[in-house]
Every structure is written in C-alpha cells, then in structure tokens.
Amino acid sequence: MLDGAPTVLRRTLGGLLSASLVGLFVLPLVALFLYAGAGGLWEAARNVGFRISIEFTLLSSGIAVGLGLLTGVPLGYALARYRFPGRSIVSSIVLLPVAIPHLVVGLALLLLFAPSAPLGRLALSLGLPIFDSIGGVVLVMLYVGASYVVLTSELAFRSVSDGTVEAARSLGATPSEAFLTVSLPSAARGILTGALLMWARGVSEVGGFLILAYAIVPGAGWNGPPTTTASVYIFNLYGTVGLPGTTSAAALLVLVALAIFLGVRLLDRSGFAWARGRWFS
C-alpha cells in the first residue's frame, strides 16, 4: 500500500505509530509520579505497614521465582529437546495460566488448598500452610507466572543447536556435564528473561491473592507482622482512602519494580557479552 510512498513518509508514519504505543506505556507512569510528587513518595517510604508489605512481596516473589526456575527450566528443556507422547498437550497446559482470569485461579486453588480441602490439610500437616500465608502467595505467583519461565526456557534451549551438544559430548562431556557446561549457559539469557517476566507478573498479581492469600499471618517462612502483598495493600488503600492516598504507595512500588528490572537488565548486558545482538539486546 505504501510501497510507492517516499521513504521519509513511510518512516514518519512508522515512527508515529511506534511512538504512540511507547507513549501509552510511559505516560500513565509519568502521571502517577507527577501526581504523587517527591513528598508523596517520601511519605509512602516512611509508612511502616507499606514497607513491610513490599518486603513481604519481595521475599515471596523471590521464593516463587526460585521454584519457577527449579521446575520450569527442566520442563522447558524437555519440551525443547525430547519428543514424547502428550508433548503437545503439555505445551498447551503450560499456556493455560496465561489464559485464565486470575480471580478464577484464586478460586480454583482455594478449592484445593483451603484448610478443609484434602491438599490444604496435607500441606498443613507438613507445616506448610497455604491459606492466608506466604505459601498461598508463592503458589499463586507460581501458577500465574511460571509459564513465562517454561516458554522462554524452551525457546532458549531450542536455540542451542544439536551440534553444540554433540560436540561437547564427543569432547568428553557426559550428558549432565554437557547440560551444565553448554546447554544451560547458552540458554541462560533466555531463562533470565523468563525469570524477570515471572517476577513482574507475580508482583503485579492481585486477583489470586484476594481469594487465597488476602491477609498474611506470620509463619511458614514469614516472620514479620501480619501483612498483605504490596499490590493488595494498594488495592485496599484505594478502597479506603481513594486516589490521593493511593498514588504515593503505587508510585513507590513502581519505583522498586523499576530498580529491580533495571538491575537485572544491567546484569543482562554485562554478564552476557557473548549474546550481544541476540534476544533482547
């Protein structure tokens, strides 16, 4: 359609369309920070209750990402490397959590893990309470976010050629040595991206927590006072004090998330020099 148009026109149009989306991403955040102001941010930072909820969110999301890597990377590897019966079904199941509304995730998990439900009773007997505890938060985060680790791991392992692994084997590496010294490091950048996406998804979750882990009581890994996740804290604040009192806390949470995101991106750029030009350089 635009083949006959001058290059300047095509580039201008492409630039405007792209800039409009980038603007959509950035402008709400700018509005949030302007509305909150530096004073508001400082006030939110001095709020002990909110600081505790951020601390709790970072702890639970860290545990969830760890478990996501522990389980998601082997699954991603299996999907990338092996042909097995039911492989396409497993691939589809991995995508399920992305498609299900997260309030529904909370309800479904509640059916399984409520203190009176069989799995809930089993977890309690093992000293791992789920309902209204850090276990429930981790479980929801794992459910809604681990798909990203599996998908990016699968993609990353697919990019490691058979030849690379076979060369390692013929050079003397056992299958596990070839995995640890060649496949895993070669795929590390993709896996890190998946971990970052999972973490971001977990921190931004609300619906699942409202049902399964609304008010967190101490125990089973959380030794602080009763709290909520930061996202639920902001949700509650909005319901009680309205917009003016909420934006400061929301802006502070965004600031913490951005700091972590940029930190990982810096590690990504400095630690993966070999992969320049690949993935998200």
Binding site: G163, T164, S170, L171, A173, T181, W274
Partner: protein
Amino acid sequence: MVLLTALEVRDLEAVHGSFRLGPIRLDAGGGEATVVLGPSGAGKTTLLRAIAGFLPLRSGTIRLDGRAIERLPPERRGLGFVPPDLGLFPHLRVRANVRYPLDLQGHPDRARRAATWLERFGLGRLEARYPAELSSGERQRVAMARALAAEPRVLLWDEPLAALDVESRDELLRLLRTVLEAERIPLLLVTHDPAVAFGLASRLVVLEGGRARFDGPPEGLAAGRLDRFAARFLGYENLYSLAELEAAHDAGLAPRLLAAAGSEGIVVPADAVRWTGATDGGPRAEVAAVRWTAGGWVVAFRDGSLTVRSGPSRDPPGVRVGDRVALRVEPEGWKPLGDAR
C-alpha cells in the same frame, strides 16, 4: 609403509526415520584421510553420527584400535566429532572453547596445551573473542583446534569448510592435512563437495542411497568402470544417456557417440571438445552460449538436441552466440558409461 588401521567399521547398519543405511564397511588409519563423498540424502551424516555414537546401530561393529566401541557412549569412544555447524560454544571465548576438553579431563597442563593449539591454528590474536565475532574461516579453525585438543584417536568431520570461498578452503585443507599428518591422527570426513574430497582423500568412499558405490583410492574412481553417478562426481559436464543419443541419432555427433556408448550412455570430457569454422568438414553445431567463468571462457554448442560444452580456456573463443561451427570430439576423449553393449 604399512599404516595401522585405527578405526574399523564392519557391516554397519543404522536407521534414521525412514532412511536405511548400510551395510557399510570402512577403515581409517595412520595419518590418512578417508573421505565419504555423496549427494544430499546419501546417508553421509547418518553414517558419521552412528560412528560417533549419536545414532544407535541396527547391526555391525565399530572397532577402535581393536577395541569394540559401538556400545560405548559418545564421550567414551575416543573419537573427535565436528558437526556441520561446528558446534562452537557461543558463551565461551575462543580460548575457553579450545580449553574445554582439557578442562573436562582435568589436564594438569591445560592452559599451556590450549595455547599451543591456538598458536598452531593461528588463533592466538583471536583467543579473547567469542565465536559470534569470528569469520567463517576462523570458526573452522577454532573447531579444528578444539577437536584436536581433546587428542582423539580419529577425527570425524561432517561437511567441513562448507561456507568458505575457494582460497580459504584450500588454505584450511592444507593446514588440516599438515597437522593431521604431524599428529598421525586419521581423519574420516563426509562431504558432498568433490573439490574437498579430492583435495584431501587418501581413501575415497562414494555413498549413494545408504550404500557404498565405490571404495578405494580417489584415482581409482576415474580409472575403473565409469558410471553416470561417478562421472557426475568427477566433474564431467557432457553426460548423455542412451535415450538422449537415440533421440538425436540422425544429427551431428550423436551417431558416433551412440556407436561408442556403454550401457548407461557416454561422457564427453569438456576438454576433448574442439571446433573450427563452419566451412570445415564435420557435424555443424550452433553456438548457444559464451560465458566467462573463474576457469576461463566456456562455450556451449547446440548440436541437434544435444548440448555440448567446451572446457574452460584462457584464450577468447573467437565465436559469438548464433555462429555456426564444425564440432569435433577426439575419439580417445570420450568415455563410455556403464558396461560395454
């Protein structure tokens, strides 16, 4: 000189999907290069992967220095294997790539030995680079250095030097031959490229449809019974089947070629084709194309329904497309294909 056979493959059969390979018999030993030549789909890669241990055998034996290795995992076979994509580790610098097998072995002198191999392949100044920062030729040299650093008993190489220009390829072939002869490491290489095969092979195996069509010294391919398959690999241009000759039997060169043809037809080497002005005697042909190639001028003639190409010549051919000429082929130049009729 008697060269000891390091690798002995006997009655090897393997299945990859619907493709069936073998039975194959193969030897590699001394500082020799055994080259398996064949078109795409002939089973070259299947053969090499089966020997390297990445594809289970259906039957047969593989012996290395007399020891049966067909049931051993790849890492315990003592064979170096370079895959078609070279398999360089993208996250490791050149130095670490070459050191990799030595690190696995826990070699006490790994740093010095890796440095020696790097120098030997002219990689000293590139040792701090990542594979993605290297040219195709440099990557090939890293793959060679790394494979040899593992001190394999035999080096297996799948389609090497594929993405290289002729000059770089010849330079690397010379380097590889020198190092392998010095280290007395036999090479088993598979390729579809006759130039690589004839540039390196001390023993040639021609593979087609999963079976060996020829096994012997490379010069034996031209000396023995010539068929269409072998003629294509020997680079002959003018191959005519009996059907083609019979269809053109009443025109130009065809009657004489048909009379001399074997059961699979005849080949007329391009350098045996001569032509003179149209007023001279002999069959008439029309110049169909005149083009410059890296080897020189090549002329294609239309002789009835046959196309006859001349060999490359540095001298300008002195004819233009559409000219009529008298075409001649010296009888001692043509070669019957297949058995005598």
